[in-house]
């Protein structure tokens, strides 16, 4: 027989709450301790790198003051050096890398996750992942011996035909191919190839996670495949797209050896990215490290510190964007 509660419950006097606590087992405690120390150590190492760079950079920053950020020349012997032209070159190379890598990665990722027949899908995924694992020096060799000379005519064409419309594409001697050989443009395109597989991989991963239910919902409404991709896959993957681009940008900004292979170092604000001569922070450190000492070495550490902070901010931003999204949070709808 069931029982009935009669009337509303009478107000109860204040009661002592029970202590709710579970005692973890020894194995749990051990595991938690191990995992926690591993997690903490990554943060500590990260912090220590920052501290090391800051301490090493201090003499240079103290000597130069704020002009360390604004000065474009790098003449430690003369006492004037700064990173502004390097920073600008870094950004330029990163931009060109994105211009090349983003559309290709986006298209490749969509093709692999949505259009590729099952028989070649796995192979494509593997190849892209392998390409991401190819050391940058291989890309550097390829860029130096293959890509560079083939991009000369592209650069020349852009300069000759479009510089009227976009003056920044002009160079001083448009007819000579050597005007274009070691430009921010060519370095940026080469770096674009380096970051492409990473971007593709990240984007493909989120595209393939778009929920089957929503995909089928769109298709059942009579959508074409492209309609389904536009209404379901891309909105779902938006954060992954941004995250992939940011991750690629972070890598592009720090890319050293490929840029080193292509550029001829120059310490000016170049407003003509097709023209030979540029420099990035990473390449500059690599070039000058062995010959620097004293305050010059300290200056290189300072440049490294700026790059470190710059990429840290970009990657943090990417992380925030991705984790706030549906695809990143892996929410089940």
């Amino acid at each position: 027989m069931s029982t009935l509660t009669e009337g509303p419950p009478a107000p109860v006097p204040v009661r002592d709450r029970r202590v709710i606590k579970s005692r973890p087992t020894t194995s749990d405690r051990t595991f938690v301790a191990a995992a926690r120390s591993a997690a903490v150590s990554t943060l500590v190492i990260m912090g220590l790198i920052g501290v090391f760079l800051a301490i090493g950079a201090w003499p240079a920053i103290k000597q130069q003051g704020f002009s360390f950020v604004t000065e474009s020349q790098w003449l430690p012997e003369a006492g004037t050096f700064g990173i502004s032209s390097l920073l600008w070159g870094t950004i330029l190379v990163g931009l060109f890398a994105l211009i090349v890598a983003v559309p290709v990665s986006f298209g490749a990722a969509l093709f692999i996750s949505e259009y590729a027949p099952r028989s070649i899908k796995k192979a494509l995924v593997t190849i892209v992942d392998l390409m991401a694992a190819v050391p940058a020096v291989i890309y550097a060799i390829w860029a130096l011996f293959f890509l560079q000379e083939r991009l000369l005519s592209v650069a020349q064409w852009l300069s000759v035909h479009l510089s009227g419309l976009l003056p920044f594409l002009s160079v001083e001697v448009p007819d000579s191919p050597s005007s274009y050989t070691s430009s921010a443009f060519i370095a940026g395109v080469a770096v674009g190839f380096v970051v492409m597989p990473t971007m593709t991989s990240v984007m493909r991963e989120v595209f393939s996670q778009a929920p089957t239910g929503e995909r089928e919902g769109a298709i059942a409404l009579g959508a074409t495949r492209w309609g389904m991709i536009r209404s379901v896959v891309i909105p779902f993957g938006r954060a992954g797209i941004i995250g992939g681009i940011m991750l690629g940008l972070g890598r592009a900004l720090g890319e050293t050896i490929v840029v080193f292979a292509i550029i001829s170092p120059m310490f000016e604000f170049t407003t003509h990215p097709l023209e030979s001569g540029t420099n990035t922070i990473a390449a500059h450190i690599a070039i000058r490290y062995s010959e620097s000492s004293g305050v010059a070495l300290s200056g290189l550490l300072g440049a490294g510190l700026i790059l470190f902070l710059f990429t840290l901010v970009i990657n943090t931003f990417a992380g925030v964007v991705v984790s706030r999204s549906r695809s990143g949070a892996a929410t089940e709808i």
Binding site: L221, G222, A223, R326
Partner: protein, 287 residues
């Protein structure tokens, strides 16, 4: 059993109507759907054997039977969703008002536009608003949304038909994912109805819903029957009895393909089944 002769005439009227005024909610031209000798496979594994079934225009046909007997596969064959599964194949034909939807000259998207589907798990587009979810079908199929007022009217009518209007009319701009489970399912029904399908397929639409929401969805099904042909897969015997006009009982032996044991008017099938297995199933003795 109803025949499909009446529907052609009605269709002509409504098509004229659609071009001249705001589109009616459904075409009002429910179509008869006929499955002829349908068999289906996933790879080499046969899941359906020689199924013949006529789903009469404007009526509700329930597909019942234990799990794994091929009901859902059959339903997905009816609007060409089956072929989305890698390795899926079939034999036989599906006639929509006499025309085979698997005809090589017909695009799957054309068939899917006329034969809508509501899934077991509500799948509104989570980032779209309630309003946009209802109109999603029109946008996805590249059809013009009928002006601002027309769109508003279509949204209201679709949501009313799905029994959801009163609950969401004050928050049409909120995302589809903010609704409760039952509301989301009715939103999906509204979304399917907004494109004016001739047939609406429902794959266990209430299996994840509470009793109140289930009742609302069942009321919706009853109210749209007549305007649209409904085919519903359900595990719930009472639900089949409450909503359907006709019923088909599927069964599959262990490891064997499913087939239809018995079909006919729902009342007869439940009160006077001719096959002992049907009797056992509808009376809850197995399954």
């Amino acid at each position: 059993m109803t025949t499909d002769t009446a529907s052609d005439e009605t269709r002509v009227d409504l098509d004229i109507d659609a071009t001249t005024t705001i589109p009616q909610l459904t075409a009002g031209a429910p179509a008869t759907l006929v499955a002829r000798e349908v068999s289906a496979w996933f790879g080499n594994h046969q899941v359906l054997d020689n199924v013949d079934l006529t789903m009469a225009a404007g009526q509700v046909t329930a597909l019942i039977g234990p799990s794994g007997c091929g009901k859902s596969t059959f339903l997905r064959i009816l609007n060409r969703m089956h072929e989305l599964v890698p390795g899926a194949s079939l034999a036989g034909e599906i006639l929509l008002d006499g025309q085979d939807i698997y005809d090589l000259d017909r695009r799957p998207i054309e068939s899917r536009r006329r034969i809508g589907m509501v899934f077991q798990k509500a799948n509104p587009f989570p980032t779209m608003s309630v309003h946009d979810n209802v109109l999603a079908g029109l946008r996805l199929t590249g059809r013009k949304t009928p002006g601002k007022n027309g769109a508003a009217e279509l949204v209201e009518r679709s949501l009313r038909s799905a029994g959801l209007w009163e609950e969401v009319k004050a928050r049409l701009g909120t995302p589809g994912s903010s609704l409760s489970g039952g509301q989301q399912q009715r939103l999906c029904i509204a979304r399917a109805l907004a494109v004016r399908p001739d047939v609406l397929l429902m794959d266990e639409p209430c299996s994840a819903l509470d009793p109140t929401s289930t009742r609302r969805v069942e009321e919706t099904i009853r109210s749209i029957a007549g305007e649209v042909t409904v085919v519903i897969v359900t595990h719930n015997m009472q639900q089949a009895q409450r909503v359907s006009d006709n019923c088909a009982f599927f069964l599959a032996a262990e490891g064997q393909p499913g087939y239809i044991v018995e079909q006919g008017p729902t009342g007869e099938l439940f009160e006077n089944p001719r096959d002992e297995r049907t009797s056992d199933y509808v009376n809850g003795r197995f399954g």
